[in-house]
């Protein structure tokens, strides 16, 4: 019988009602299964650490309650394991929230496990670190350091499941390891069975971004049409003992699982397809094939594995100064010339109103923006129509907040002192986070799991003990 992996979320900020249809399908199938929430982007952890400085009881996924409340009781009642990196910077805090939620739902006996070992901020400078090959940034000084976390593999998570955890809470782990762990636990694959590990890891890779394999980040009307994108079904992957994979989605949901959606996600964020590095296995996709079996069912075969890399990737986050943005619109006759004049006025003023280190960029949205370079080459070469609906956007960066505030305030002042008919100014600025990637020795990292016991659970256990 196959094991089913369901995705409940693919990033922090994802739809919070997505897991409901997935869990309904998992219950209907009556097979061993797990539901995974992947909510931790490269820099989400830095935001979590900053939040914890303000409030020590925060630091985990802010929407945790909203994500789990609709499905936790069903999962507990039907033996569907839940795994999530929603612990972020404070896995213990997330465990506490889940314990309270379970108690409210009438399931105080929930077993929650916490994975430890990814946070290496304290020992960072004693470690043998190598720079990741595409990394350009130098290691920051201690005062700028926000967080340092290793991408852990699936072992400690499988260990948590072996402790009969119902819910496994992690901080930083390799996203697909959240999916590999329940497979390792269920199928009892060996940790050097590279081909199976590679299949399990790629099952995770395909599902970890949620809807991206089932019609999300895909639709291109007239070329790649996707039905029901507003109710897109998040993926379910059927995995067999031999490692074979079928990607599908819940019945009665929108979206689609096709050879095209699966191929796009198979290569998502992959570099050399013969050597896709993960903490538990190096994956070779060069022999992979995808085949549509029936509507919304696609098989992936030919995934091969090789020994895991010797070092583990670590992401270090540190303070990156300030960034601000501000925008103003011009529309109708001669709008482009007015937007261009506004840009010129801003450039001239910022020369004497801000220090030379202020880095700025000006886009004219509607003419050229996201494809353009910082110096605006495409804007200058674009063939233009004079009238239209254009929006001038300023982005500015400086180590000090006041200069970023000044730059955006200069755009605001275009209301009265700029070209005719400028309207709809929005401005905002915030701290930036820089991240840098390093490689650490596997032997320097101690990943392990413990069962969490909340004060309420402890009391509950004592009561039972007293009663017996």
């Amino acid at each position: 019988m196959s094991f089913l992996l369901g995705s409940g979320a693919g990033f922090s900020g994802d739809r919070t009602d997505a897991a409901v249809a997935v869990v309904a399908e998992l219950i209907k199938r009556q097979q061993p299964s797990a539901l995974v929430f992947e909510t931790l982007g490269e820099r989400t952890l830095a935001a979590a650490h900053r939040a914890m400085r303000e409030d020590p009881e925060s630091g985990f996924e802010p929407l945790l309650d909203e994500l789990l409340a609709p499905v936790l009781r069903d999962c507990l009642d039907h033996g569907i394991k839940i795994l999530g990196n929603f612990g972020a910077a404070n896995p213990g805090g997330a465990c506490q929230v889940i314990a309270e939620l379970a108690a409210q739902l009438g399931r105080p006996e929930v077993r929650i496990a916490q994975v430890h070992g990814d946070d290496i901020r304290q020992q960072l400078h004693g470690l043998d670190l190598q720079r990741w090959e595409a990394e350009r940034l130098e290691m920051p000084g201690d005062d700028a350091l926000i967080s340092a976390n290793v991408y852990l593999g699936a072992k400690a998570l499988a260990e948590a499941l072996a402790m009969q955890a119902d819910v496994v809470v992690t901080g930083r782990v390799a996203d697909p390891a959240l999916f590999l762990a329940p497979l390792m636990h269920h199928f009892d694959w060996r940790w050097d069975d590279w081909d199976r590990l590679a299949c399990g890891m790629m099952a995770g890779h395909l599902a970890e971004c949620g809807a991206q394999v089932s019609g999300g980040y895909f639709a291109d009307p007239g070329f790649k049409d996707v039905p029901g994108l507003a109710t897109v079904g998040y993926p379910i992957i059927e995995v067999e003992q031999d490692g074979s994979l079928i990607i599908t989605k819940p019945a009665n949901t929108g979206g689609c699982v096709t050879e095209q959606t699966v191929k796009e996600q198979l290569l998502y964020e992959v570099h050399d397809p013969a050597n896709y590095l993960t903490p538990d296995v190096t994956v070779d996709l060069t022999h992979a094939e995808v085949r549509q079996l029936s509507p919304n069912r696609v098989a992936v075969t030919g995934i091969r594995g090789k020994p895991a890399p010797e070092r583990l990737k670590t992401t270090v986050c540190y303070e990156g100064g300030w960034q601000g943005e501000a925008e103003i619109s011009y529309a109708g006759p001669n709008a482009l010339a007015r937007a261009q004049l506004a840009a010129q006025v801003l450039r001239e003023r910022l020369v004497f109103r801000a220090p030379a280190e202020l880095r700025i960029r000006l886009d004219i949205i509607g003419l050229a923006s996201v494809f353009d370079s910082d110096s605006g080459e495409l804007q200058r070469s674009a063939s233009t129509s004079v009238s239209g609906d254009y929006r001038l956007r300023l982005a500015a960066e400086h180590s000090e907040r006041r200069w970023v505030a000044r730059a955006t305030q200069e755009l605001l002042a275009l209301y009265c002192a700029g070209p005719a008919g400028g309207g709809g100014v929005r401005r905002q600025f915030q701290r930036r986070v820089f991240t840098a990637s390093y490689l650490v020795k596997r032997s320097d990292i101690y990943a392990h799991a413990t069962l969490f016991e909340s004060p309420t659970q402890e009391a509950h256990r004592s009561e039972r003990y007293a009663a017996s």
Binding site: E42, R43, W132, A134, E135, R136, L137, Y217, F218, D220, G222, F223, K224, Q260, K263, E264, Q265, L266, L267, Y268, E269, V270, H271, D272, P273, A274, L285, T286, H287, A288, E289, V290, G302, G320, Q323, R359, I360, R361, D363, S369, V370, F371, D372, S373, D374, E377, L378, R393, A395, A396, E397, R432, V433, F434, T435, S437
Partner: protein, 117 residues
Amino acid sequence: MLQAEPTQTSMRAPASISLHQLAHARAGDKGERLNVALFAYEADHYATLLEQVTEERVLALFSHRGASRVRRYPLPNLAGMNFVIDDVLQGGVNGALNLDGHGKTLSFLLLSLEVHL
């Protein structure tokens, strides 16, 4: 959906069409490195992609963004290829002033290349 002007093509240069008509693509990022996976809709067009969507052309397409190197990994089983493009994100999610620091929109810049059939 192909472009018009089917008549008297024998005397003309081969018809040029947008890559968007023949292929689909998805972009992803890690730091300052972008990958764009490109797949032919029809396996028959894979050879055209292989011949015409070269590392050189892709490097030229992204040169205004400071691309320093392009590597192409062909995947014949998938009728596709993976492009890894270095230093194209002008700071990436860390340092970019671009609205799209991840480069998620850039798959469609690749698809704007012209190819000949």
